[in-house]
């Protein structure tokens, strides 16, 4: 009998437990530890944030699914990993702290044969003074945050209807943020709603980003072949901003937010301020607060985790300049080298470096989008780790070690630009691979056949279809496994 513990029921961890349970007999234990009672399809939080969907439409309770599937569920936070065990445990174990109302604050220790860390991002609002729902800006990172954002957005609409001009600033709240695609989506959904309610003329919509240019999205931009010409995501994105009358401020690091004022610095080193009536700024991410200890009880956190809190896996972490970055630097198995029975997948693994070229301002401030690890790659990583574990449990040490590198994996990103069955639109983009490989694809780093973008109503339908499909899959309904990650 083997016991697999997964920390984090997000896109990657939940995918992993479902595959593990499907392929391993009931004599093996699959254990999920996650702090929230509900699963959240995060991409649709954008629609919650403009009042187009309710929190119930993007979340569902996990306990009934895990009960039906025979997965042991602990509503708790993983707080420490002990990969060598200790004097009381021969096997590795994790310490968890319950968050469920019945057991809140209680601790337990769970032994494992295999451990998957899928704890995603810690929303690091604290990195920028005044950022976030406890400060002066809203967020759409969780369904709860998105509800608050929708309420504040309605207040802005009421003021616009009363004839007051309003400035809405949407973007990222730190120079090292990722997920620019989500900020882009929220910008255009807000703009779309303002048009729908007939108050667009009094509203100024500004996209504030750390990207060097529009269309970078933290992946260094994309090249597309279109009607016999090579074009790029910069031109394409700029065209959308021009068409929809959205202004953009680029190359920015937000250093502080006060009530109604954003303080930011740009690459030229000049510190500027921007007044706002409504601001949705995404936070930078760090890894979950998990510590690691050896058999003697000494802390080994820095051996397992990067300073960012993300877990170090089979990547090449040797620091090197942008010009020397290689596709092979990126991990394939997501195993921790010193402890191959521990995996880190999704946002929880430490990337070897950025994808976009990192830049520093004239005063030395780092303005560098972190590499996005979006839903599709996160799901694929979760499945890959699960497949390796399944094979090793079934075949012992000869079990196949599966691999899925972001340098050999595509991603489909459908960025909503407004919801509506006949008047919605979205920018449907795909890139292959996510991490450019300049040796395989000289010049642009990606396959021009598989990297493309298109704006239109079809994109909205795809985005809505993905919402339905992934919630169906996450609920483990019949044939869920036929839906690709």
């Amino acid at each position: 009998m083997a016991r697999v513990v997964v920390l984090g029921a997000g896109i990657s961890g939940h995918t992993a437990v479902l595959h593990l349970r499907r392929s391993l007999g009931k004599n093996h234990e699959i254990v999920m530890v996650t702090p929230n009672s509900k699963w959240n399809w995060i991409p649709s939080n954008i629609w919650v944030g403009v009042g187009k969907m309710s929190a119930e439409q993007v979340t569902f309770p996990l306990a009934p699914i895990y009960k039906r599937k025979g997965i042991e569920f602990h509503q708790a936070l993983g707080t420490s990993i002990h990969p060598e065990g200790d004097k009381d445990h021969v096997k590795g174990f994790v310490t968890i702290k319950y968050t469920s109302p019945e057991k809140a604050g209680q601790e337990a220790q769970l032994e494992y044969d295999y451990l998957i860390n899928a704890t995603g991002p810690k929303l690091n609002f604290a990195a920028t003074e005044g950022l976030g729902p406890d400060g002066h800006t809203v967020s759409v990172c969780t369904a709860g945050h998105a509800i608050e954002a929708a309420e504040k957005f309605q207040e802005v609409i009421a003021k616009l209807k009363a004839g007051q001009k309003q400035r809405l600033v949407i973007g990222v709240g730190h120079g090292t943020c990722t997920c620019e695609g989500a900020a882009f989506e929220y910008t255009f959904n807000v703009e779309h709603e303002l048009v729908q309610v007939g108050v667009r003329d009094l509203a100024e919509v500004i996209y504030l980003t750390n990207e060097y240019e529009l269309g970078d999205f933290g992946v260094g931009g994309m090249s597309f072949a279109q009607r016999g010409f090579q074009t790029n995501s910069k031109l394409w994105t700029e065209s959308l901003f021009l068409e929809r009358g959205v202004k953009a401020i680029l190359q920015s690091h937000v250093s502080k937010v006060e009530a109604g004022v954003i303080h930011y610095e740009q690459l030229d080193g000049v510190k500027r301020t921007l007044d706002f009536d409504f601001a949705m700024l995404l936070p930078p991410f760090r890894g979950a607060d998990i510590k690691a200890f050896n058999k003697a009880g000494e802390e080994i956190t820095s051996e397992l985790f990067a300073p960012s809190g993300f877990m170090k896996v089979d990547a090449n972490y040797t620091p090197k300049p942008y010009e020397e970055w290689k596709a092979e630097d990126w991990p394939t198995t997501y195993q921790v080298p010193a402890f191959p029975n521990i995996f880190a997948v999704g946002i929880a693994f430490a990337p070897p470096h950025q994808i976009s070229k990192p830049l520093t301002s004239a005063t030395g401030t780092l303005i560098a989008p972190s590499p996005p690890r979006t839903g599709m790659p996160s799901g694929v990583m979760g499945k890959t780790a699960a497949l390796t574990i399944i094979d090793q449990i079934k075949r012992g040490v000869n079990g196949k070690v599966h691999g899925a590198s972001m340098a050999n994996m595509g991603a489909a990103c459908v960025a909503s630009a407004g919801a509506g069955f006949t008047n919605g639109s979205a920018a449907a983009m795909t890139m292959y691979p996510v991490v450019p490989d300049y040796e395989k694809y000289p010049g642009v780093g990606r396959s021009s056949k598989d990297t493309f973008g298109e704006i239109g109503l079809a994109g909205h339908w795809i985005k809505y279809m993905l919402h339905i499909m992934f919630i169906y899959k996450a609920k483990a309904r019949p044939f869920w496994f036929l839906i690709p990650e």
């Binding site: 021009l242 068409e243 740009q266 500027r272 008047n423 795909t430 292959y432 239109g456 079809a458 690709p484």
Partner: protein
């Protein structure tokens, strides 16, 4: 100070493009086509 990104070099879509982006029949075709391309892309890489 106005330090907004300069969008003057960006192409503005013509009316026909904007109409086609909303044309239900044309977009239904694009929906099928985009899905096929996306699925092909997924299966070409690690998945």
């Amino acid at each position: 100070m106005d330090n907004f990104a300069d969008l003057t070099g960006a192409p503005r879509p013509i009316d026909k493009t904007l109409k086609m982006r909303k044309n239900v029949l044309f977009q239904f075709w694009r929906f099928i086509s985009l899905n096929v391309r996306m699925v092909a892309m997924i299966f070409r890489g690690d998945h």
